[in-house]
Amino acid sequence: MELKEILKKVVANRDEWLELRYHKRTSLDIEVKNGRLREATRNILSGVAIRALVDGCWGFVSTSETSYAGLSKAVSQACKSAKEAAPLKKEKVKGLASLPAKKEKVDFARSNNQQKETSLEEKIREIRQADNLLQKAGEDIIASQVSYSEYQDEKIIVTSDGIEVEITDPKCDVGVVAYGVKDSQQERAHVSKSITGNWTELFSEKSLADLVDEAVSLLRQRLTAEHVSGGEYQVILDPALVGVLAHEAIGHTVEADFVEAGSVVQGKIGEQVASELVTLVDDGNAAGAGRTLVDDEGCQADKTIIIDKGILQNYLHNRESAFKYDTEPGGNARAFTYRDEPIIRMTNTYIMPGKSELAEMIEGVSEGFLLKGMAQGGQADSTAEFMFDVLEAYKIEEGQISHPVKGITLTGQAFEVLKSVDAVSKDFALDLGRGYCGKGQPAKVDAGGPYIRCKLMIGGQQ
């Protein structure tokens, strides 16, 4: 019997509400460090995720068993655990937003993948060449690292309410890290990119050699840059940092599970939370690394307008929260592997472009900074208070970019920052690097937008 038929039979044989998701991931990882092929691995991770809804409580079991007998046993376990946990659950799941019963096959790839598939040999060779190029870029380069990851997901989702979806989802990413030294001070700089698609599409705009050049140039800026004094400044954030702000500091607060937990936007639908120049959306259909045409509950992706011209319009939902809020889910229930349950996640989250020219935005700053990309990482609370460190920064003095600076950490409350936005550029890019978001489990996401000008607290090291 075909696996899909087995899943259907298991679901049909139980009275409880069930969702079965077969999820097979075939991945390839290649990493070259300092000329050494550190990693060349293939990996298959496959199994079935089972969610049962019993007495208003979920039960979740994941198993690599795919036989009818094995799955029936795992389903019984999921139902039993939900039943046992239900008495402790105070707020029961009262229902799920309905989805139209459907049978479909969906491929998330942007193109029909007609290009010739790049061979393993070629991928290893090109990554080694890029690492070699990086090592030889100058005497100030002390170490190099080029890494590439790809995976192809195949999923079959079957639910008790008539959903039968088959999904193919190819994603890949690349990272280039340059390490350098100047006057005994070490620095590192990284550039990265992630897409939904294959190797050819990943390098369609910038080649590996271009990324190496960018990393070297960025490293040299960091090696010569000066530390700055902390304080509140007018700053211009590039699309990558706008993406970080949109995703980390705003996006998480509007995920309905965080809203329920008391995030800062609870009860604020319809209120002004940002400058009227700001429109922020989450869009699983966009051609970014977070492309999710159908989510892991079998729900079609939508373009959810979170903030419309400064007014908070929507939260992000799964079927459970959408039912509770009497709205439609937008395709935001996602699970990273078969061992993870679907939870509310972003997809591609971005601020819509505006009408300003970047050059004019810079001219309008008397003392401030042009800030680009995130360095080591960032954190944000459900209060929308955030902390990000900046990869690339330039002082702006009297409307002119003067010199590179480093060691900048941004802190603040994201909605207050968005209220201070007084210019939004025409440019647009999705640029969240390798695009991994963590929320108990990873997810491939993307984020970005235009350049925005706003006020921000900067923590420096001078």
Partner: protein, 452 residues
């Protein structure tokens, strides 16, 4: 839970034999199975009971000094032959490297107290009861909100088989509880705080004590006020020291980073790297240690050694590759599981205790901060750090004055290691770290005044 040890042994030996018959120079088979159960709490309510059964195998081959690795958890449709094929294709496309060697067979001995046979019988309803106990205790103060919490039980079986004759298995149990919480009183909201417990023995998880401690911490940080900038002392709790101090140290003592020239301690063996108050041991076989194991990812015994002795760097962490490159033997720090090739990580990093209690260290502070949690960046390459103090308290003339907010600390980790002026006698176990409170002098503390 009894494993079918013979089945695993047969599978490992079959793959090794099959590989040797194909002319592969060296083969390593790493097997792992994990039974996990977990109860998840969100927004003060039970969210999800979970269970997972994982069984996977990774095969690493070496032919003509070329390495390839393939792994799968689909044991039914991916035969050992397929795995060997995949690994060989990768090896054929890899460059030769004379340091690609697998370790020779050596004596392995059992590690004490890493398997709780009674705890291994745990069922999901036991975890539900544990989560209930936690919630009852923490909610004794109704100002406290539990953002998220989880309680988990894991039973792990590891096995390794190599063409060099290594053939061994061990079982381990791992129980953990973690919670993220805050307090709210009218308009006042505290910062988030975390409690994390982990043990190889279920009965060692002091759930109620942990809930009470988290409750007290978040309530104490209500009404936090900004402070002015100053240069003073900071006392890091063990939890804050993990992210701010220990992770950069782990990066710096990783032999791969040293060999690649990116560790700030690349030429520092036998030299001073910190204040003489700091002594760190790494023990991969400590009884009951979360990081303890019978063998590392390559089948090498994870011996105990001193990393830093009174401020002097003594030893680095090696796997077989970096050890061969350095012309020495591995000290058993190859890390990873069946789905990955060997990396490098410590066993149990243990910071030697000082003589004073953490309470007495507070009395020594003229003007400084108690840093409960650190939320910020630490660049392990340059050592630069800058971030926000969470759950901080202002200390003046040895007395705890007030909780603080919107306070940042910054500097260079490798520089401030020389500014350690106190180490507490009392220590806490956090994952595979045993850490005291650590007192630092002359730290830049940026308050609200400088941010305007």
């Amino acid at each position: 839970m009894e494993r079918k040890k013979d089945d695993v042994l047969a599978l490992g030996n079959e793959i090794v034999s099959e590989g040797l018959s194909r002319g592969i120079d060296d083969i390593e088979v790493y097997y792992q199975d994990v039974d996990s159960q977990e109860v998840v709490i969100e927004k003060n309510d039970l969210q999800l009971p979970k269970a997972d059964k994982y069984k996977g195998i990774g095969v690493r081959v070496c032919k003509d000094m070329r390495i390839g690795f393939a792994a799968t958890n689909d044991m039914e449709t991916n035969s050992s032959k397929n795995l060997l094929d995949e690994a060989l294709i990768l090896a054929q496309n890899s460059p030769p490297d004379r340091n690609n060697v697998f370790p020779a067979k050596a004596n392995l001995s059992e590690v004490k107290d890493i398997y709780d046979s009674e705890g291994a019988e745990i069922e999901l309803n036991n975890l539900i009861e544990i989560s209930k106990d936690f919630m009852t205790e923490i909610k004794k103060d109704d100002r406290v909100m539990v953002e998220s919490a989880s309680f988990s039980a894991n039973i792990i079986n590891n096995a390794i088989f190599t063409s060099k004759g290594i053939s061994s298995q061990y079982q381990k149990t791992f129980f953990s509880a973690q919670a993220l919480s805050f307090a709210r009183e009218k308009e006042l909201v505290s910062s988030f705080d975390i409690e994390y417990l982990a043990s190889c023995f279920l009965q060692d998880l002091s759930i109620k004590k942990s809930a009470a401690r988290l409750r007290d911490k978040v309530v104490a940080s209500l009404g936090a006020e900004p402070v002015e900038s100053f240069k003073g002392e900071i006392l890091l709790t063990p939890f804050a020291a993990v992210s701010l101090i220990m992770r950069p140290i782990v990066f710096a003592i990783n032999s791969e980073n040293v060999q690649n020239g990116i560790s700030p301690w690349k030429n520092k063996l036998t030299e001073r790297v910190s204040s003489n108050k700091l002594t760190i041991h790494d023990d991969g076989t400590e009884a009951g240690g979360i990081g303890s194991k019978k063998f590392d990812r390559e089948g090498v015994f994870p011996e105990k050694f001193t990393v830093i002795e009174k401020g002097i760097l003594q030893e680095l962490l090696y796997n077989s590759y970096t050890a061969h490159r350095a012309g020495r033997k591995s000290n058993g720090r190859a890390a990873g599981g069946a789905q990955s090739t060997p990396g490098i990580s410590p066993g149990n990093l243990i910071v030697a205790p000082g003589k004073k209690s953490s309470k007495d260290l507070i009395k020594d502070i003229k003007k400084g901060l108690l840093v409960n949690r650190y939320s910020g960046s630490v660049d392990p390459v340059s050592g630069d750090f800058s971030g926000v103090v969470k759950g901080g308290e202002l200390i003046v003339q040895g007395k705890r004055k007030q909780p603080v907010r919107e306070v940042m600390i910054s500097g260079n980790i490798y520089d401030i290691l020389d500014q350690i002026i106190g180490i507490s006698q009392n220590r806490e176990d956090i994952m595979n770290y045993k850490l005291p409170y650590m007192l630092f002098s002359d730290i830049s503390i940026t308050g609200k005044d400088s941010l305007n």
